[in-house]
Symmetry: C2
Subunit: 319 residues, 2 copies
């Protein structure tokens, strides 16, 4: 791109990038995503869901740099040292930028952690983790008066979710897989400004910006289907640079509109959880949301150490 | 399945199959495909597009065994020894069953072959090959008074084409990717009875039925995208048996109906080629179909030996 020393080669863009040009590329792609999908407007109060990893710290950093009002939210999932370290990266970033970091501790406030929830529900840890985070993100955003919830999902994440939804032709999930979802009953607007950047690019952003982040993958996630889909897409990308972006962005461009017509006919009725007030699709007389049901089961279970769940998953993977 | 000696293990069905049970499985899946998509009706005169490979010979054999009136059509593509051998397998099968095998020789009747067409058009050989075959299959079926054209596309083929169309979100191609297409202007009804069988299953069918077939892959196809997609799907299938069938059959079940509504609004106008009368999407005053344009360019080019195209593709693949 220029005579500056290259920090990253990007076959998709058929060029090497120096630190300055990489930042330009990232800013341009994030601005384009925000504009194309009307993610943020002046006056928004944004809450960024922060894991302590590269993506969530990068998106928080970029939004602040672009002049948005953005605080962070960290949920302590109780995944041993991994969670402790992740929380410290989130705090360090917030302190440096002088921004507020809200925190929720699953064990301290709701009486369970992800490994325990996994064993108590007999489901993969990622299932309980995702459910918990979605609920707590929504609640914190609404309680804190934020107008929009921001997550750091990047192109690799979204393409992998899309591949999973497509391989199953889960048409309802496909119709909902949009980078900007409007607010509805008890849920804030939700946006994903990093959809046009890969995880190599967000990692490079953090490196050139001097942001320390959790570089480990979550030990609970090893061997999960989502990571398998990422590998599959990386294979396709290696054979044909640009294939991953074409897959995800092509979906938004050409398939999502077809599904939107269909989705408009099928608005799902929501009711309020009798325990916490959150929106739920339950149609029981006294509806209880999935999060409150998870809390009930998981908090009644004796604490399970992280290593037990990791070991079990490693044994399953070997079979 | 029984005490008979196993000839094939099928993880998707979680069982090993003896020769007799394998044939039962194949007959059941083909009958289901024919019924589900109204592929064939009593009184149909079927023309099977026969390459000399396992799939086309298997589908011809199954249709005859199920009592359908089915002749074959072999197109000599001029791909050196590969084509000569393939033609002999097709003839031997026809002779054994006492059925008629129509033949078309590209070089003899149209003045070109696939390697030459590839060089003359500067496109991959599979492009000229597919275009030639589609045109000649349609013409032979209509000229011969056949009511339906049968091809041996199996689950692996269709899933790979689907993956390619999906990765590009080629919505028009997705809408047309159906196992049974009605007749329209100058084109016969087209059906794919093997969509519920994998290539391992059709190969096993040929083996237990004593059918000799061309076991080599086409030398022109090596390294093409379609084979890459097959490999990708085989990786997904290995990680999760049944994933390939769920992908393709789930598409037919849940996505194709959504696209059909859309396709109904977009009927493409066809006109007749001024040279051969075939249907064409060309909207010129004197429309010439893609086949006649190919014949014009390829027959004017001096013959190109197979090895030259294979060698060029091998060099490209190494890059």
């Amino acid at each position: 791109m220029c005579r500056g020393p290259a920090v990253i080669d990007l076959p998709r863009h058929n060029a090497n990038f120096c630190a300055e040009h990489l930042q330009q590329l990232c800013r341009r792609q994030v601005t384009k995503a925000i504009d194309d999908f009307e993610m943020l407007v002046p006056g928004d109060r944004a809450l960024v869901a922060v894991s302590g990893g590269k993506d969530s710290l990068a998106v928080w950093d970029m939004l602040l740099e672009l002049g948005y009002d953005a605080d962070g939210l960290y949920v302590g999932l109780g995944i041993g040292d991994y969670s402790d370290d992740s929380g410290r990266y989130a705090e360090a970033f917030a302190d440096e930028r002088g921004r507020r970091l809200l925190t929720v501790d699953l064990r301290g406030e709701h009486g369970y952690d992800v490994p325990t929830a996994s064993v108590a529900t007999r489901r993969v840890p990622c299932s309980a983790c995702g459910l918990s985070k979605r609920h707590l993100f929504d609640r914190a955003a609404v309680d804190g008066g934020y107008t929009v919830l921001v997550t750091g999902h990047n192109l690799d994440d979204e393409a992998a979710v899309l591949l999973g939804n497509t391989l199953r032709w889960d048409v309802d999930s496909l119709a909902r897989q949009l980078p900007s979802l409007p607010a509805r009953m008890g849920m804030p607007r939700k946006v994903k400004p990093l959809i046009r950047l890969t995880e190599r690019e967000t990692a490079a952003w953090c490196i050139v910006r001097g942001i320390d982040y959790q570089v480990e993958e979550c030990p609970m996630a090893a061997g999960n289907r989502h990571l398998g889909y990422k590998e599959t897409l990386n294979g396709l990308e290696a054979a044909s640079p640009g294939a991953k972006a074409a897959f995800y962005l092509g979906f938004l461009d050409r398939m999502a509109p077809v599904l939107a017509e269909r989705a408009a006919d099928q608005v799902i009725g929501l009711s309020s959880c009798v325990r916490c007030g959150a929106a739920t699709t339950s149609d029981a007389d006294e509806p209880v949301c999935a999060f409150c049901r998870l809390v009930e089961v998981a908090s009644a279970h004796e604490p399970v150490p992280v290593g037990m769940v990791v070991g079990r998953r490693a044994r399953q993977a070997r079979r």
